[in-house]
Point group: C2
Chain length 144, copies 2
Amino acid sequence: MPQDDEANPALSGQDGAIEESGLFRPRFDASGLMPCIAIDHQSGTVLMLAWVNAAALEAALSSGFAHYWSRSRNRLWKKGETSGALQRIVEIRTDCDQDALLYRVAVADPAGTCHTGRPTCFYRIVPLGPGDLERPLSFDETDR
Amino acid sequence: MPQDDEANPALSGQDGAIEESGLFRPRFDASGLMPCIAIDHQSGTVLMLAWVNAAALEAALSSGFAHYWSRSRNRLWKKGETSGALQRIVEIRTDCDQDALLYRVAVADPAGTCHTGRPTCFYRIVPLGPGDLERPLSFDETDR
């Protein structure tokens, strides 16, 4: 996640090692987790953001289906195991400093991606403008 | 980020309050941060994943330009302030449980989005298959 302004000298060094490395060495946070974005493999739409630990990532790589770590339930979570909205992984990418992941997935049941029955978790718009953070949201239900 | 399997009973309650609320009440983590995905407003391509705190989000909402919280430098960070790759915000979305954000942005200089000179931070592919997490990465340099 470092960009121009955010380059981390301790990691980059003189040769930009971590950014140009051809070796995957995921950097989990102090809790052993890393954020993971899931996008639709055809449309590119952002479906959700969840978390992975090493076990979830290993399960995803070996099975070809998206696995995450459920922070609320504190357990490995195969996406869609109960809902049927399995996510078959088409591709996995890592970011420049290897502390975020991107799953490109084919969703078995798009309506089940969000537990609210929507195809994406990002269905509410935050209006721009100054003022308090607490402000009305608008819903985008075009895909529902 | 809760989906089917991940619904958080403590938050959802009987009426799914947080998911169906029309009020923005962002839920920052214990460090006061929240992950924020930036996507291109036209192509939808995922550009980067960074972090916001309340101050960064307020600055983004009031200025219309993407602001983040730099964890490595421990300061508010206006994206592109030094590189020129400003991100004009077209839309902000929040997810179902209001602990992740999505910025849809127009980038002033696409080549400056990643500090490595790439248009996205997600330029490396992690090959699927069982085995150690530590494995060779392949580069996708099509957009460079």
